[in-house]
């Protein structure tokens, strides 16, 4: 089936730039493709339809993308991808206004669908990779969305190489979404490389605002401003639903059909909303539960070690001393501004990109290393925090020297008596 498709697509691809060959030559790395797709400002190439123009991607590139993955990916769900794409775009256009740029076969409705799917694929990468649901989510999702009765030539879905994607590439995704022309404003900052915290991407795209969405009138539908506005609303909602769908694990299996049929779309929406609600509720419950457990751990909670840990996030070495000075916070004279040495520590820590969540990996040697580097004069008697608890809180010894390893970690003084300047957060 792929071979049957190839000529079609190659025909399609004739219009695309010559980079496609180079891309194919590369290993299946989604990010590069997306980047190259972004680079092509091919808005004019698309037909005059406003939506597709906005969507930016010409069909060629989308098809080329498709084909590329078709070549290299295992035939996981042959019909799924094309159908999904057809759906995506097709729903709205089903009534006959579908115009594909440059003689794409109708089975590559391309623009919206492919762009979205491509965006989603990258999003998936960064997304909850631990969750297996999203892992299998792409293919099943594509299968599920197979509503179109006529089966277009199959294009294997790329088994999204999520693990290969780096956060840096998410930037490409976002830019691509921008190129998509829904004019979403993309706020991005650099992210840390932790793959488990990968829910970030949806947020990026979710942060994008849709100032306006061009909507084509469906054949046979009213074209007055009200229904157009309605449809625009629906499209906005759908876009967000998709993002939410990716965020919530397990949700991708629930088809959220873009207007393939209205009722299906809406029930799909309802199901997605259900999933989201469940997810948020479960997260809230987890917070409750964890706070309960933390309360149980108390009063043994030894906040000193926590501060120590925060300070050891600084690179041991030159930074450490400064970091610890910065962290020197004297809780007793509590002024609102001295909230935390947040500013300084942040400045110090940000470039390091430490993974905070692996605190328990902080072995004894790390702590002792950190302490060793630190000048012992720092470990003086601490003025004690006005929390009113005695030693249980900050079990420190003024015998400081903290070079003994884990016990020292607990007992070393973390708080220094330096005054804290007003720190802005």
């Amino acid at each position: 089936m792929e071979s049957a498709e190839a000529p079609q697509i190659s025909g399609v691809r004739s219009g695309s730039s010559g980079t496609c060959a180079a891309e194919i030559a590369e290993s299946l790395r989604f990010e590069e493709e997306i980047q190259s797709l972004i680079v092509h400002p091919n808005f004019e190439a698309s037909n005059g339809s406003s939506f597709t123009a906005l969507l930016g991607l010409s069909g060629n590139q989308a098809a080329e993308l498709l084909h590329e993955h078709g070549l290299t990916a295992a035939a996981s769900s042959p019909a799924g991808a094309a159908e999904m794409w057809r759906l995506r775009l097709g729903g709205d256009r089903a009534a006959g206004e579908l115009r594909l740029p440059l003689g794409c076969s109708p089975t590559f409705p391309s623009d919206a669908a492919i762009v979205e799917s491509a965006a989603r694929f990258s999003v998936f990468a960064s997304e909850e990779s631990p969750t297996s649901s999203s892992g299998g989510g792409i293919s099943p999702r594509l299968k599920v969305e197979q509503l179109d009765p006529d089966s277009p030539p199959s294009v294997p879905v790329l088994p999204s190489p999520k693990t290969k994607r780096s956060p840096a590439k998410r930037k490409g995704t976002c830019e691509k979404s921008k190129a998509r022309g829904t004019a979403k404003k993309i706020k991005r900052t650099e992210e840390k490389k932790d793959p488990t915290k990968a829910t970030a991407t949806e947020e990026d795209t979710a942060d994008e605002k849709l100032p306006y969405v061009h909507v084509r009138a469906r054949r046979g539908q009213a074209t007055d401003s009200h229904s157009l506005a309605e449809r625009a609303r629906r499209e906005k909602i759908n876009a967000r639903m998709k993002l939410l769908q990716e965020l919530v694990p397990g949700c991708s299996k629930v088809g959220n059909f873009l207007n393939h049929s209205r009722d299906l779309m809406i029930t799909g929406t309802a199901l997605v909303l259900d999933e989201i609600i469940n997810h948020v509720q479960s997260l809230q419950r987890q917070v409750e539960f964890l706070s309960m457990r933390l309360a149980a751990v108390n009063p043994c909670i030894d906040l000193s070690f926590l501060d120590h840990i925060l300070s050891t996030q600084c690179e041991p070495g030159a930074g450490a001393a400064n970091g610890r000075e910065a962290l020197a916070w004297n809780p007793a004279p509590w002024s609102p501004d001295s909230a935390i040495a947040g500013e300084d520590v942040r400045r110090l820590l940000l470039p390091r990109q430490y993974q905070v969540w692996h605190l328990d990996l902080l072995g004894p040697q790390q702590s002792s290393m950190a302490w060793e580097r630190d000048a012992t004069p720092h470990h003086n008697a601490l003025p004690f925090p006005g929390t009113g608890t005695g030693t249980s809180l900050f079990g420190y010894d003024s015998t400081n020297s903290g070079n003994e390893g884990p016990p020292a970690m607990r007992h070393s003084c973390l708080f220094q008596s330096g005054p804290i300047g007003p720190l802005t957060m």
């Binding site: 900052t189 650099e190 992210e191 932790d194 829910t199 970030a200 949806e202 979710a206 942060d207 009200h226 229904s227 609303r233 909602i237 939410l244 965020l247 809406i266 029930t267 929406t269 309802a270 909303l273 989201i276 609600i277 948020v280 509720q281 997260l283 809230q284 917070v287 409750e288 706070s291 457990r293 309360a295 751990v297 108390n298 009063p299 043994c300 909670i301 906040l303 070690f305 926590l306 501060d307 925060l310 509590w334 609102p336 501004d337 520590v345 942040r346 820590l349 905070v356 969540w357 605190l359 328990d360 902080l362 929390t387 009113g388 608890t389 249980s392 016990p407 970690m409 607990r410 957060m425």
Partner: protein, 184 residues
Amino acid sequence: MQLTSSFKLNFLKQMLLGFQLSAVSSNNMSFHERKKAIKLSADAAIAFARGRTRWSQGLITNLSKNEKNKDVLKGLLGREYDELSKPCCNSWKIPRSKKILRRCLRMSSTRKMAGRAQHDVGKSILAKTLAKKRIQVLKKLVPGGESMDGFSLLDETLDYAMSLKAQVDGMRCILRTSEALNFK
């Protein structure tokens, strides 16, 4: 919003500060009080670390409703407290005007839809009801959600869900480390 390490660090620090402020480590708190204080610190920390979003404002507002929490909150958030705790002023007016709009729209659209097949209308009504119910539930879940319309609600939900995840991760981390250290 991105789950940056700085965000998480901020959250952690704020939360620890909150613990100190509310003196959770003291022995004179009951279990429940302690749990509430911890939760308060965690919520305030996440709202603070997130910055100014609708849900964070809503969260702080909800937390501030309890008088006792206000001092802790003020101390924790500092000057951010004032900014965060004033919600969008006309937030209640927005849903009302939207309802009016929607009613007009609905009337005009039902008139148009009268020509269509009956089952179509039925289906769409059913579907809309389903979606509406869930949106209502979602509004209750997300802090400050009542005053948001559909789109922003979804946006905020996304944001909120991410922050919740960060919160859960952070708390779990703290818990793990403290437990590990306690056993030594």
